[in-house]
Symmetry: C2
Subunit: 307 residues, 2 copies
């Protein structure tokens, strides 16, 4: 946690130097960057919850500065967009609830992307994404994203290889365009193990309050685990740029996942160098106008009933 | 808080029997429905914060049942829409942060309506409202709403009286249509006093972190306080129906305001009689499919690298 330690952005970043990512080499139970046991204590879960709450307060402050800056200077278009990808039961929903949930819903813009609708299938794959972008000043969260279009169609052979393969370049161009438009992307892959997914899916079956989250089709997707991991590895390598890298968060331990994503958000905010904008009016003049106003001087509607 | 006490919905509801609402008779510092001092103790603020957190946990559960129900049965269209109206500095933003912020952002849909854009002015006043409705399963929050269109244009004489007056019926028809479509409205007016508004606006001037929230035009609006109160009183009377009543929350005390809105939300949710939907699949069969799956039996992509 000290300044001398490496940031989570450094520790979790997917290298962009052309070397292919080996997801199998990243332990889903690992906890990179976690402070020493002396700091964390015997109950890492409790420690992490408290840290996420504290970081959340800072995220709320940063979010407000972003919102305020955009109100005063909308043309700059500055906004932050967290893109979450994971295998089924990988923890996207929980991350949104626990981490994005620390921010002010007024300035949050959460969108979930499921199987494309008939209308969406009639358009370019980025069409629905463009329509769902957060407005300037907002923090956006994408629960799945345009990356689904280099995963599912590839593994399920829904389109020819040349089609999904061309999408890497299309995505890179699209994201460069977003950056030009003021959008700072934070792309996070929540990395769980094959065994952890089984446990989580079985838990959904065990708990009637979680049945609605269970999809029989998830079992078929699970049967292609290795293919999906390979598709992820390639997407995360080909679509990570120095401006918009990918981050892999080991996500078997939910408390670490939340702590890591909260830190990635904080570090990304800090990189924006935000501040509260100065006044766009004469503060003293406004104070005089307000104080001078008296009920007796009100316009024709008459004096208000004071209460 | 006990079952024998009157609900907040009963206590704060604007009568729909034709009698015009007298906003001046409602004390903005009042705390209707608050339990006795024995229960609340000497620090009502602390007590209310804790209660809002507890009610928030229940709101999160209700929100999840709504989301789950809509996933299983989207045709029913069920959703909840909180409409917040208030004078400037009335506490809309704070209510959203503190009350809506207890829910899962994944199932929240917050929209703020400012001065209409040029595009919006080219359409019927309900056009931008219809486009901003929450999808089935979501909890929507409108930070200002279509009610602005029977307030500002009336007080500022932007349209002829017959135009804004006709809007009461248009709104009632629109809201009846929403109800048919599964939308449960919760319409809340946050009621602050003329003096409280002054204090809050001055506080915005005192704090450089709040300058972005200050609008010089708010002083001009404040000069027409009585006209706006009259416009509110008429709108809340004419557009309150037994199916979709208005509620007035005394809002000078922020802790009471948050507690009251949280309770109104809870009571409204309870009126929906939500429950978790049953499984749409054979639970035992799914369990067998999952457990039977072995890495060695995976499709061509090969066995996953287990980690």
């Amino acid at each position: 946690m000290s300044g001398s330690k490496r940031s989570l952005r450094e520790l979790l970043r997917v290298p962009t130097g052309g070397r292919a990512l080996d997801l199998g080499a990243i332990q889903p139970r690992a906890t990179p960057g976690l402070p020493s046991a002396e700091v964390v204590g015997h109950e890492p879960k409790t420690w992490a919850r408290a840290r996420v709450a504290a970081i959340g307060a800072e995220l709320g402050r940063q979010q407000e500065m972003l919102f305020a800056s955009a109100k005063v200077d909308p043309g700059r278009g500055r906004r932050l967009l967290l893109v979450l990808q994971a295998m089924d039961a990988g923890g996207k929903d929980g991350t949104i609830r626990r981490v994005a949930g620390t921010m002010n819903p007024l300035g949050l813009h959460v969108r979930s992307f499921g199987r494309p609708t008939e209308e969406e299938r009639g358009h370019h794959f980025l069409w629905r994404i463009r329509r769902a972008l957060p407005a300037p000043g907002y923090v956006g969260v994408f629960n799945r994203s345009h990356y689904e279009d280099v995963l599912v169609p590839r593994v399920e052979s829904l389109v020819p290889e040349r089609t999904w393969r061309a999408r890497y370049d299309e995505i890179n161009e699209f994201e460069a365009e977003l950056a030009e438009g003021g959008v700072t992307l934070l792309k996070v892959f929540l990395h769980i193990s094959y065994e952890e997914q089984l446990e989580r899916l079985l838990r959904r079956l065990d708990d009637p309050r979680k049945h609605w989250k269970y999809e029989p089709a998830d079992v078929d997707t699970r049967a292609r685990w290795a293919d999906y991991q390979a598709a992820y590895a390639e997407a995360l390598t080909r679509c990570g740029t120095s401006r918009s890298p990918w981050f892999v968060v080991p996500a078997n331990r939910k408390w670490y996942r939340d702590w890591a994503v909260a830190n990635l958000l904080r570090e990304t905010f800090e990189g924006l160098g935000l501040s509260y904008p100065g006044p766009t009016f004469d503060v003293e003049r406004e104070r005089r106008r307000l104080v001078a106003q008296r009920p007796g001087q009100l316009r024709p509607g008459g004096a208000p009933k004071l209460s």
